[in-house]
Symmetry: none
Subunit: 220 residues, 4 copies
């Protein structure tokens, strides 16, 4: 550069690992590995190695393996719902369309991302980490079901949907989504025959089925 001396090796700053990025990279690596092998069966060294740092470094950012685990959960349960709730407050179409839209959104933003593995993790470790179960319940399950329930209620109120116990119906909507997310991180990743159809398409079909039923008119 401006210096006249030659041969200053000029360490290229490209690919310089930014220190601030470390925790994020560790959490990302941990998510992948915890989902793949389970919390207990994952070694912290693996996580560190996959994140490109040494074992010791991991402990500079996280007090313990459990601490890392909690971070993984927390970081991957973004506060999606506030934004979504806003979006849905002004939704114009029918409640059926709204349902489809909500389900699509969820799949696109969660089910189809690495964060989809979180469900499997939480389900698997809930009893070992009750606080995490509680946390997940409050941060994800409750707002998620509330959102869907509000859509169902909207449909009922408008006469579009039949009367129902919406807080139960919600699970008929949600369950296949959860199932899909877990499946793809377990059986779907192993047994070839277990790899199911296109998820997005299935979800659409499922919502339609719930809306219209499978019985013909003369069977009703």
């Amino acid at each position: 550069m401006s210096s006249p001396t030659l041969h200053v090796p000029e360490t290229p700053p490209k690919r310089e690992r930014r220190k601030e990025a470390r925790p994020g990279e560790l959490v990302k690596a941990a998510l992948d590995l915890f989902v793949e092998k389970g919390f207990a069966a994952t070694r912290v060294e693996e996580v560190a190695t996959r994140a490109g740092v040494s074992k010791g470094t991991l402990f500079l950012y996280f007090q313990s393996k459990e601490d890392l685990f909690k971070a993984v959960i927390r970081e991957n349960i973004a506060n999606l719902f506030p934004a979504w709730n806003e979006e849905f407050k002004t939704f114009a179409g029918s409640s059926a369309e709204m349902l489809h839209h909500a389900m699509d959104l969820w799949w696109l933003n969660v089910g189809n991302t690495p964060a989809s593995g979180i469900v499997k993790l939480v389900i698997g470790e809930a009893q070992n980490f009750p606080e995490i179960a509680e946390f997940y319940q409050k941060e994800v399950v409750a707002p998620g079901t509330a959102l869907l329930q509000s859509i169902l209620q909207r449909g009922v109120d408008s006469g579009e949907f039949v009367h129902m116990e919406s807080h139960k119906t919600v699970f008929s909507l949600i369950a296949p989504m959860i199932f899909l997310m877990m499946w793809k991180h377990s059986m779907g990743a192993c047994a070839a025959s277990a790899r199911i159809m296109d998820a997005q398409e299935f979800i659409h079909m499922h919502v339609d089925l719930l809306l219209n039923g499978m019985q013909t008119n003369n069977a009703r």
Copy 2:
């Protein structure tokens, strides 16, 4: 007891010889603990203790912890389907009733038993035990979906159900069942707020929903 003296602590007979009963008791204890804490987080000694034997005894009946795990899976995936298939071959009622019946049966015989925890286990450990995933796929998933699919097809053939891609629809039926089983062994066992409604009732409602849809006639 016939003895008038109280407080005879009734020391449990040590070193009882019960070769026949041991494996079953160990598998039972292991199922409970594996489901509760996960495979890796469960210590073999806990399993032994819960089964009322010593650590060493466990290894008299199972070559390794993994071997025990596989036994737990195998023993709890009874050959339910052959018998059921027979039963359904001669089913007299409508296909809707048949669906309800099939779902009820499954819940009664699996969902409502300790074996319900198996799903969580298999999902959680599938990637660590690919053979088990394969086994489960072949022994449970395949026959289970085949049975349901045949019922759906029966309904389509008789004009009771609309045309559908039955191999996909099956998952709309199954998913909430799977979900329920996993939920009750994870979130449901922790977060109070996560304890859902009565399962049997929910399943009934879910099947009805799939049959009739939630839209009012004027919305269709």
Copy 3:
């Protein structure tokens, strides 16, 4: 039989294991296994199984594995020497012949029998069982060397052998014998290339060599 009733299964007494034979069979089995795998690496159950009894039975005859070990040593160090000493007291031939004869006898009665494995055992475990080392030293080494030494002395006295420190020369005689016995139970049983020449023949050659030397007359 004399009884008129039929169908008394008449358990055939053939192959009835005589109880008095048990300890001997156990010791025999133990010798083989200890020599083959070493003391620590041999499981008592293997010994019992090879002797055709159950693990528990072994402990009826021997207080512990160590006790069995000591019995193995003791039983296989027959009191050969007293008899031999007698035999040699009246030996008529030359001292060279006497040496050959003594060495042949030892190989025939020990080196060529399963008891040959004892040396390997004793050498290997001497430091773990000092009493056994002591015992072996007193019962085998001392009388054995004494016998040979007396033969050497006889030769010296008669002018057949040169003057020598006979208590040292003895080891020149003995060492290859010991070596042979250990070799055949270790390297000789493994590496094909390690299987040496005919032992008896080698011993003869060795004694001849010690008697005559390998140098030609003009080299002396």
Copy 4:
């Protein structure tokens, strides 16, 4: 020390980082203990402790106890023979002197070092570790006997030695050496009465005996 104060207990520096030195120290400690107590009877923790490290550290450098064992053998069977062969190619003296020299060298470089224990180890564990037997045979026995055989042949060719089956005679030379090495690590370390004469001196005597024989001229 330069410090005038006494009794500063000089706590040994814990958690020292000495990656380079560890394997060697561990192998050294292992050699001693394996030779002393046998492979199976030695606990890895003992080895670690004697090497001044913790159990875990041992497994940082060796995959398993067996791995350590193999390292012990390998490290202590330096490639002595290539160098020696060179030395002997240009030997000037008589073949008798050459024999004496070869035997002296072996005793000085092996018999008189901790590596002398290796023979006992290999003999004792050959059947449990066939690869090691093979390895020892190829790396030690074969070159060792080849070297001695070549010396004998040299003597025969020069008319210094009588005709002989040199591949057998070699064992008459070697056996007492092997015997000596094993003896000093077993009986010799226990039974006081078993502690034999000075080894070096005995070897010299033994070679002389083989060269000249023990018979007087008039006895031949």
